[in-house]
Symmetry: C2
Subunit: 355 residues, 2 copies
C-alpha cells in the first residue's frame, strides 16, 4: 500500500483524512488545525473558518483512538448488568445510552448473566477497553467485591445503580425500594385486605431488604401485627413465585393479599391462584414490583411499582460524568434516590372498579 508523499497530495482512496492532511493542504501546522477544531481561544477567526471549511469539504473525521491514547482517557462508558431481557434493565440501558450519547460518549454493555465470575470478566474487559467510567448493577450472587478494588486503584470512576453492594461506601443511583414496598402494602391494606403476605427476594440484596422493610413499616403504621409466616423468601423467577404461593395457600390462615418483590414471581403466584380456583382480586389481591410489560397482558392486569427506569439510567450517567470530569471528588460518596410510583390495576382493586 503506497503511502502518500510529503507534498500536497491527498488520500485518494477511502483512507481517513487526518489533521496532517488538512495542515498540508492549507500550508499551516497541525497545531493550528487542532486548535481550530477544538475551539481553542488563541486562533484567528479567519484561519479557523478556513480550517473548518476544508475539514467539512474533505469530510475530516477525528481519530478518537489517537485522542484517547493521548489523553489516557477514552470516550467510552462501560455498563455491566445482570441481564438485559425484561423491561427494567432494557429501559435503564436505554436511558444510559441517551444520556451518554448526548454527552458525546459511547456505551459498551456487558451482561453478567447473574454470575459473579462473568461479572469479574466483564470488569476486566471494560478496563481493558480503557473506558472512562463504569456503571454497574450487581449479579445476584455477588458477595465479594474485591474485583472493584482494581477499578478504584486504577482511578476509573464507578457508579452503581439499582443493585448496589450492601454496607459499602459507594457512588450509587437507587430506587427508594422501601417506599415502593410501603405504598404497595398500604394500598393493599386500603383495599380492605386483612392478611397481606410478602413474597420476598434474596435477603442479602439491598433492593429486596428495602422492599421488605417497606412492607413491614406499612403494616406497623397501620397497627397490624407482622406475621412471620406470611413472609416467604424466594428468588424472583416465575417458578419461585409458584412455590411461594403454594406455601402460602397451605397455611392454616392463608393471606387475602400478596405483595411480591418482583413481577415474575407475582405472575407465578397468579397462576397458582387461578389453578386453585381463587379469584383475583376478590379472594386474593395482588401487587408486584417493576411494572414489567406483561402486567398489562395477564387477566386481571397486575398492579405494580414503576421504577422510572430511564431516569435511573440518565441519573447514573450524569453522576458518572461528573466524576469523570472531576476525579478529585471521586472519593466522596454520592447517592441519588429515585421515588417509585404505584401503578394500580385490576389485580388489587376491590372497590366498585374491581374485576
Amino acid at each position: 500500500m503506497a503511502r502518500r508523499g510529503t507534498s500536497d497530495d491527498l488520500p485518494a482512496n477511502g483512507a481517513p483524512v487526518s489533521m496532517a492532511d488538512l495542515a498540508r493542504e492549507l500550508g499551516v501546522s497541525t497545531t493550528t488545525i487542532s486548535r481550530a477544531l477544538s475551539d481553542h481561544h488563541s486562533i484567528g477567526p479567519a484561519t479557523k473558518q478556513k480550517v473548518l471549511k476544508l475539514a467539512k469539504k474533505l469530510n475530516y473525521q477525528p481519530n478518537h483512538l489517537a485522542a484517547a491514547l493521548r489523553r489516557g482517557q477514552s470516550r467510552l462508558l462501560g455498563v455491566v448488568v445482570p441481564y438485559i431481557e425484561g423491561r427494567f434493565f432494557a429501559s435503564v440501558v436505554h436511558g444510559i445510552e441517551q444520556a451518554a450519547t448526548k454527552a458525546g460518549y459511547s456505551v459498551i454493555i456487558c451482561q453478567s448473566s447473574e454470575d459473579v465470575v462473568q461479572e469479574r470478566r466483564n470488569i476486566d474487559t471494560l478496563l481493558g477497553a480503557q473506558v472512562a467510567g463504569l456503571l454497574v448493577s450487581l449479579a445476584r450472587g455477588t458477595h465479594d467485591f474485591r474485583h472493584f478494588d482494581k477499578v478504584r486503584k486504577r482511578g476509573t470512576p464507578l457508579v452503581f445503580f439499582d443493585r448496589t453492594p450492601a454496607a459499602e461506601a459507594v457512588n450509587a443511583v437507587v430506587l427508594n425500594d422501601r417506599a415502593g414496598g410501603y405504598i404497595s402494602t398500604q394500598h393493599l391494606l386500603a383495599q380492605g385486605c386483612q392478611r397481606v403476605a410478602h413474597i420476598a427476594g434474596p435477603p442479602h440484596m439491598t433492593i429486596y431488604q428495602g422492599r421488605r422493610q417497606g412492607y413491614l413499616d406499612a403494616l406497623a403504621d397501620a397497627g397490624r401485627p407482622a406475621d412471620a409466616a406470611l413472609v416467604v423468601d424466594a428468588d424472583m423467577t416465575q417458578e419461585d413465585g409458584e412455590r411461594a404461593m403454594r406455601a402460602l395457600l397451605a397455611l392454616p390462615a392463608p393471606p387475602d393479599a400478596v405483595f411480591a418483590a418482583g413481577d415474575s414471581a407475582l405472575l407465578g403466584a397468579l397462576q397458582v391462584l387461578k389453578a386453585a380456583g381463587r379469584r383475583v382480586p376478590a379472594d386474593v389481591a395482588l401487587a408486584g414490583f417493576s411494572n414489567e410489560g406483561f402486567t398489562l397482558i395477564t387477566e386481571p392486569r397486575l398492579t405494580s411499582v414503576d421504577q422510572h427506569c430511564e431516569e435511573m439510567g440518565q441519573a447514573a450517567v450524569r453522576m458518572l460524568l461528573e466524576l469523570v470530569a472531576d476525579p478529585g471528588r471521586a472519593s466522596a460518596q454520592r447517592q441519588v434516590v429515585l421515588q417509585p410510583e404505584l401503578m394500580v390495576r385490576e389485580s388489587s382493586l376491590r372497590g366498585p372498579a374491581g374485576a
Copy 2:
C-alpha cells in the same frame, strides 16, 4: 505529577505498567516484550518465559488503545438494532456478545429506535469509535441506504442481520422467513381451518415479504385460493393488530384462523377476539411470529415461530470476523439463512388437545 526516571524504577502509584516498564526491568527492548506477549515465533523460549513471568508479577495490562492506533484497527464491534426490549433483539444481542467475547472483542450497542435519522447517527458514532466491524439490523423506515456507503468506502466490514436492505448485495444473516410463514400456515390448515387470514407487516421490509410469501405458498400448495381480503397490512404493534382483527371480523366471511407476522400484533388480535366473544382456537385459531416471552402468559398460550435468535447473533459475529480477518473477501457477498421452528401451543390446537 512526577514521571518516573529512565533508570529501573517502576510505577509506584496506580499508574498502569507499560511494555517499556517491563523492558527496563529486564534490560531488553520493547520489541522483545511485544514479541513475547504476542506469541511471536522469533523469540527464545527462555526470554519469553522471563517476560511472561514479570508481566504477571507486575500485573501488566496491555493498552488496547495504543495497539488499535498502531494497527488502525480496534477490538470493538458496533451493533445497531431498532430497539432492545422484547425477546428477539435482546437474545440476538446476547448471542452477539457471547461470540464476540469469546473472540476477544467487545461490543458497542446502539438503538435506532426505529428511526433512520438516529440510525445514521449511530453509524457515525460507531465509525468514530473506530470499530473493527458493524452488525446492523435496519430501522423500519430505512429506505435510503446511502449512510452505508460511508462504511464501505472506509472499508469497515459490515454484516446485516434479520432486517436487511431489499435488493442490495450485502453480507447478511437472516431467517428463512418464507419457511416460517409456510409452516405456520400449513399448521393452521392441518388443524382444519378453512379461511386463514394474514396480518402482514410493512411490505417494504424483506422479513415481512418472506412471511407473506410463505403464507401464500402454503395456501397454493394446499390447493386453496388466496383471498386478498384476508390479507391485512399493518405495522406490528399491538394496536395495529387490534385494528387489523377488527377489520377481519367485519368481513362478510370472517376468517377462522389468523397468522400474524409478529407476536405483538397477534396479541392485539387475541384481545379483540376475546372482547368480541369469539373462542380461541375453537372459533378462530391463532399463530404468530418471534416466540416472545408473553406467548406463554396469554390464555390460551400462543403458537409462534421461533427464530433461534442467539444463533443468529453468533452466526453474524462469525461472518463479520471472517471479513475482518480477510478484508479482501469483503466484496463478495455472503448470506447465511437460518431455519425457523414452529412452537405449537393451545391458540392453534383444535384437536383433542385444544382448549
